[in-house]
């Protein structure tokens, strides 16, 4: 018997989910009897996602893995899908109170804490820092912001006014905002983008870093960035950032297929599967790039 599993990202225009999709496709091929359908809203917008879930229910797919765009909205959709006999798991972003069977992904609070900890370890002497976030509506990003703030609370780091800025997942805007933040506070000690956006535009990012190279080399300006896509690792290797903390989207894609298949086969699955975090600095970047 073959199974059709749908994997629904929050937004298709985010490269993060491309990696998850690749993981899912690869695993589906390996398993042989599984088809992976990748489809979600183009932009991050909850109502559209809910409608897509509805269509998958109509189509009677065999299982759904959802990156939840809005908890309350998805809770209802998940309920509807479950009622139609379709098992649902979540990945990347969870809907804790819902009828989803399992969650595969990162603990976003921990993610934020890890970012903060990296910064505190790199520069215990502290200073002013700013956060760049993606969109004000995203719950997982809000958790990361909270995590960063929490882990830096006891340290000498203080957040500047006007932080976080929101780049709407637009790489160009993220870099422009970083430049503006630096201009607004010339003694800014660190910027923590809690997503990989600025580095998705490597040349623009390099141009920004090069302008501040002196301060970075002198240890006066630190960049700790979230996510560990390949281009980001290369930038870290070349000295364009101090540290990266990454999730494992590829693994999320793979595990989604495994978990759904296990559920279909009647197996028992753990409710929460954390895919873990990669903490990358100069020391281990070469190894990660392999």
């Amino acid at each position: 018997q073959t199974y059709k599993f749908a994997i629904v990202p929050k937004a298709m225009n985010n490269p993060f989910f491309d990696v998850a999709r690749d993981g899912c496709l690869k695993r589906a091929k390996e398993l042989g009897n599984v088809e992976c359908i990748y489809k979600g809203p183009v932009e991050h917008e909850p109502a559209t996602q809910a409608q897509i879930i509805q269509d998958f229910v109509t189509q009677k797919v065999d299982g759904l893995a959802i990156s939840v765009a809005d908890v309350a909205a998805m809770t209802k959709s998940i309920e509807a899908a479950t009622a139609a006999g379709i098992p649902v798991i979540t990945f990347d972003a969870d809907a804790p109170g819902s009828k989803r069977i399992a969650y595969i992904g990162t603990n976003n609070k921990d993610f934020g804490l890890a970012l903060g900890k990296q910064l505190a370890q790199l520069k215990p002497e502290g200073g002013k820092y700013a956060i760049v976030s993606g969109g004000p509506g995203a719950k997982n990003l809000a958790e990361r912001v909270d995590g960063v703030r929490e882990s830096l609370k006891g340290t000498k780091w203080v957040e500047v006014q006007g932080s976080p800025t929101f780049c709407n997942d637009d790489p160009a805007l993220a870099i422009q905002q970083m430049a503006d933040l630096r201009t607004a506070t010339p003694d800014l000690g660190a910027i923590v983008p809690i997503g990989g956006w600025p580095m998705f535009a490597p040349e623009g990012y390099k141009a920004f870093v090069n302008k501040n190279k002196k301060d970075i080399d002198a240890g006066k300006f630190t960049l700790v960035v979230a996510d560990t896509l390949k281009m980001q690792l290369e930038l870290l290797r070349d000295g364009y950032s101090n540290a990266l903390t990454g999730q494992r989207p590829f693994e999320m894609g793979e595990k989604s297929m495994d978990t759904l298949l296990a559920i279909k086969k009647g197996g028992k699955v753990p409710e929460v599967i954390y895919t873990g975090l990669d903490l990358v600095t100069k020391d281990n970047v070469a190894q990660m790039l392999k």
């Binding site: 990748y38 489809k39 409608q51 109509t58 189509q59 765009a69 809005d70 309350a72």
Partner: protein
């Protein structure tokens, strides 16, 4: 009178217009409707699930979700204006409604004591008068929509600003306010009346989704207003020739303000209904819906230059967009190609109308 009636005023060179060349059969709306029917047949062959009852219910519900706002925007488009703030406003009104609903249902919040009390167990919240909170919160949501519409209308009609710039500014303002009031988090309907709220927004009557019923009622009302009241006539006149409307003594300023208010109220109501269905009013809800809403109106035959449009066209446009979206998912078209196909089908649908006007 001096002159003798040599030849009576008559219309000997004017025939009867054939019924198939009149009204809807001679309009873009009619031909897009035709394209829609063709598309539905195609979708039926592309996916066996398309014409199932469940899917038809979904389609009916989904298009009703943008159709009410489209009715509102159609008013604005007929006057020759545009309203880009509908998407943001849908979110903001929904947010205010759920915030008020939760707020009034939380003992201890200001004013809440008027509406709720704690049950004997000291935990369950009980409404003093069931349904009152619901009414108050919906009124609150519509009230902010009303205000936004008033500001839009004031800037455009009284200050004479361009509708595009004004409503684009408002798009930004309202979305920003949504973040401010909810602190970026969005909000959830809650409290003892939430169940009524869900029943009213995502329930159905004999299998017909509630939003669809509202839509039908509003569309019929709109048809009457547009074609059988002087307000409607003035709306058309404004779109046809604003100068002339002013000269013939139509209260141009008032009519303009009214259409923007109507549009805002429709968007607000739409947002409230969506949030009931979603069970939440997230801060990024309805992002960039304004383009869909305007596109639906225009595809259905409303003319951005003003003077043409109507409720049937608005609905046909919305159904078309929804059938394309739903159909492509059901047909399991590769998601990356889907977006391309959406564009192609939109263009083809309006092309049908052009072919008609070429032929005559």
């Amino acid at each position: 009178m001096a002159m003798q009636l040599e030849s009576p005023v008559s219309f000997s060179n004017v025939g009867e217009i054939k019924w198939w060349r009149r009204g809807i059969f001679a309009s873009q709306t009619g031909y897009v409707l035709l394209a829609l029917l063709v598309l539905m047949v195609v979708m039926h062959f592309a996916s066996p699930y398309f014409f199932t009852q469940g899917n038809m219910q979904n389609v009916a519900k989904n298009f009703s979700f943008i159709a009410i706002a489209t009715l509102g925007v159609t008013f604005v488009i007929i006057t020759g204006g545009i309203d880009l703030s509908v998407g943001s406003l849908m979110c903001f009104s929904a947010m205010i409604t759920s915030m008020v609903m939760s707020g009034l249902s939380t003992p201890g919040m200001p004013g809440a004591s008027l509406f709720v009390h704690l049950a004997a167990d000291g935990k369950t919240v009980v409404a003093n008068l069931p349904g009152l909170i619901l009414v108050v919160s919906i009124v609150a949501g519509l009230a902010v929509a009303f205000l936004v519409g008033l500001v839009n209308g004031f800037c455009i009609a009284v200050l004479g600003l361009s509708p595009f710039v004004t409503t684009l500014g408002m798009l930004s303002i309202v979305r920003g306010l949504g973040y401010v009031v909810s602190n970026g988090r969005g909000s959830f309907p809650g409290g003892p009346d939430a169940d009524y709220f869900y029943a009213l927004t995502s329930g159905d009557v004999l299998g017909v989704p509630a939003p669809f019923i509202y839509l039908v009622i509003l569309a019929l009302t709109m048809a009457v207003v547009l074609h059988h009241t002087s307000f409607g006539r003035h709306v058309f006149a404004l779109g046809g020739n604003e100068k002339a409307a002013e000269l013939t003594g139509i209260p141009v300023v008032r009519v303009k303000i009214e259409v923007y208010v109507i549009c805002a109220l429709a968007a607000g109501l739409q947002g409230i209904i969506i949030s009931g269905w979603l069970g939440s009013a997230p801060a990024n809800m309805a992002t960039s819906y304004e383009l869909n809403v305007i596109a639906a109106a225009v595809i259905g035959g409303a003319n951005l230059a003003g003077g043409i449009g109507g409720p049937l066209g608005a609905i046909v446009g919305c159904v078309l967009l929804e059938v394309i979206r739903n159909g492509l998912v059901l047909a399991q078209v590769n998601s990356y190609w889907q977006q391309t196909l959406v564009g192609v089908i939109i263009i083809l649908a309006v092309l049908v109308d052009r072919i008609r006007s070429r032929m005559t």
